[in-house]
């Protein structure tokens, strides 16, 4: 028996756990197969699919390059404004919550309560907030902004906390030892450590909010979603095509720019 064979014999024997895992996965798969039924397939499903693709490749160019407030460019601008303002408000509101849930600053009970609250905020889907805020402000982009701010808080404060807990406290101690005031310690000791990462996180969240803002229109909270659902329900597939093309182009562009900016900010 040579050394290779000896090494091969040392391979851990986990056949039993492999078999059990396989059985569990297959059982779950079989259980969930009932979600797959073609019984509801509408008779003209294939025609509709063909029409959708025809519409996507023959977009309504009038709508795509119409610069009034009904055209795609303005709707995209409105969607971006909703996402931007929502991100800004959420980013500001998330700062105190993040400091309250940072375990190196606050006592444990406070951290626990604030974290529980943040988990609750994050789990409720954006659309539910949207429908709730519409009762507050009436339909329109304003409800979208409020929804975006609330949904941003959950994730932003979670990511902020990671940065805050990584703070280098050695800097603060040395500043204290040379006699800096509290204001100077925050301005020159804490802010420079946090600002770059915070801005990078905010830009990332803006990227995500843009996608959500596009969807929020479906519930009437402004942006490009509402015209999209109207066009679909009216089977105007070329309008759907032009809206979707505008949306995809905008999202890809913003993603590209945000990736570039974030790498520049984080690398300095």
């Amino acid at each position: 028996m040579n050394s290779i064979e000896q090494q091969l014999l040392k391979e851990p024997k986990n056949r039993l756990s492999t078999i059990i895992t396989t059985i569990i996965v297959i059982a779950l798969l079989l259980w969930s197969v009932s979600a797959f039924n073609l019984s509801n397939l509408t008779g003209n499903g294939l025609t509709i699919a063909k029409n959708i693709f025809a519409g996507l490749f023959n977009p309504n160019l009038d709508l795509l390059f119409n610069f009034t407030d009904r055209g795609v460019p303005y709707l995209l601008l409105e969607t971006m404004a909703i996402a931007f303002l929502g991100t800004v408000v959420g980013a500001i509101l998330a700062i105190p919550l993040a400091f309250l849930s940072a375990s190196n600053i606050m006592p444990k009970p406070v951290v626990f309560v604030v974290r529980l609250f943040l988990i609750l905020v994050r789990t409720i889907p954006a659309i539910v907030y949207g429908l709730m805020f519409i009762r507050v402000t009436g339909p329109g982009p304003f409800a979208g902004v409020l929804t975006m701010s609330l949904t941003s808080i959950g994730m932003l404060s979670k990511l902020y906390v990671d940065v805050i807990e990584d703070l280098n406290t050695g800097v603060l101690e040395s500043m204290e030892s040379i006699g800096c005031t509290t204001f100077e310690k925050i301005r020159f000791g804490i802010l420079p450590q946090l600002s770059a990462m915070f801005i990078s996180i905010i830009i990332y969240r803006f990227d995500m909010n843009l996608r959500d803002a596009a969807v929020l229109g479906l519930v009437g909270a402004g942006g490009i979603g509402a015209p999209l659902i109207f066009a679909m329900n009216a089977y105007k597939w070329s309008e759907v095509g032009s809206i979707l093309i505008g949306l995809v182009a905008l999202i890809l562009l913003v993603e590209f720019i945000s990736n570039k900016v974030r790498t520049r900010i984080v690398r300095g």
Binding site: S32, S34, A35, E78, V145, V248
Partner: protein, 271 residues
């Protein structure tokens, strides 16, 4: 210490050389930010006054939601399990289909640039379409029900797992792969024995993570008629029956929490 950020400060070194400090970009960025905020406020009709006057409506809704209607729970099991089934089936199938696409999108395995660029392009287009809009389109083709939701989740999973998988493959250690290739194994064979074992733990972990997220997404897909618990959520919000909404959200939060805990346990084991 100079606090005026616009002044260009200079430091004289010991050898008499003057070094200018880099001018800070901060004031410019703040100015741009303020301009953007101003225009966004104009476009969206943001007003603090409305919030101040009408925010109590939100608290009335929240108060009603905080008293979940437990009698409603028995009606929720089937839609809740439908939601989980949709995300489970969509995630598993999507994760399987993602493998060949990610294989084609890895520039270190496939030598043809056209195939690589095309596969990457397909993945990024799929990723850009919001899931809810895909579900909406799917309801037109597959009819109302869980099938449309499954398709939407399936497509999203392909895009998400596919992107992370091809990044993994491109960063994998190529030495074993090249050795096997030189011994005469085909590309598929060497991929199976050299690259797959390297990326497998990460791939499974990504799939589990994607499944967690998909349960959250699936819960709202019912809003456009794509099956699951979202349909009831939409109905009860429409009827302003907020204690039922509270019950749905409670069940959803508990289900998501259980799934996340289980999946996190397995993901930690995989790492």
């Amino acid at each position: 210490m100079k606090l005026n950020p616009l002044a260009k400060s200079k430091i004289t070194l010991e050898n008499g050389k003057e070094v200018a400090m880099k001018r800070s970009m901060t004031p410019l960025i703040i100015l741009i930010g303020i301009v953007l905020i101003y225009f966004s406020v104009r476009i969206t009709g943001f007003s603090v006054l409305v919030i101040y006057e009408r925010i109590n409506k939100l608290f009335i809704i929240l108060q009603e939601m905080a008293k979940p209607n437990f009698d409603y729970a028995p009606k929720l099991w089937v839609p809740l399990f439908n939601t989980i089934k949709m995300s489970l089936l969509g995630s598993i199938l999507g994760a399987i289909v993602a493998i060949p696409i990610a294989f084609c999108a890895s520039s270190n395995i496939i030598k043809s640039r056209v195939v690589v660029v095309l596969s990457k392009f397909i993945l990024s287009i799929l990723r850009t379409f919001p899931t809810l809009i895909v579900a909406l389109i799917a309801t037109f083709i597959f009819g109302l029900g869980t099938m449309a939701g499954t398709v939407a989740i399936f497509l999203f999973t392909i895009a998400y797992v596919g992107k992370l998988l091809y990044e993994q493959i491109e960063n994998a250690d190529m030495k074993a792969y090249e050795a096997m290739h030189s011994m005469g194994l085909t590309t598929i064979q060497s991929f199976r024995y050299a690259i797959l074992p390297q990326v497998l733990p990460n791939y499974l972990s990504t799939t589990l993570f994607c499944f967690e997220g998909n349960v959250r997404y699936a819960s709202i897909l019912g809003y456009v008629g794509a099956g699951g618990i979202g349909l009831l959520l939409n109905e009860n919000l429409g009827w302003r029956n907020y204690s039922n909404v509270g019950m749905i959200l409670l069940m959803l939060v508990v289900a998501v929490f259980i799934i996340e805990t289980v999946s996190e346990h397995f993901r930690k084991k995989l790492m």
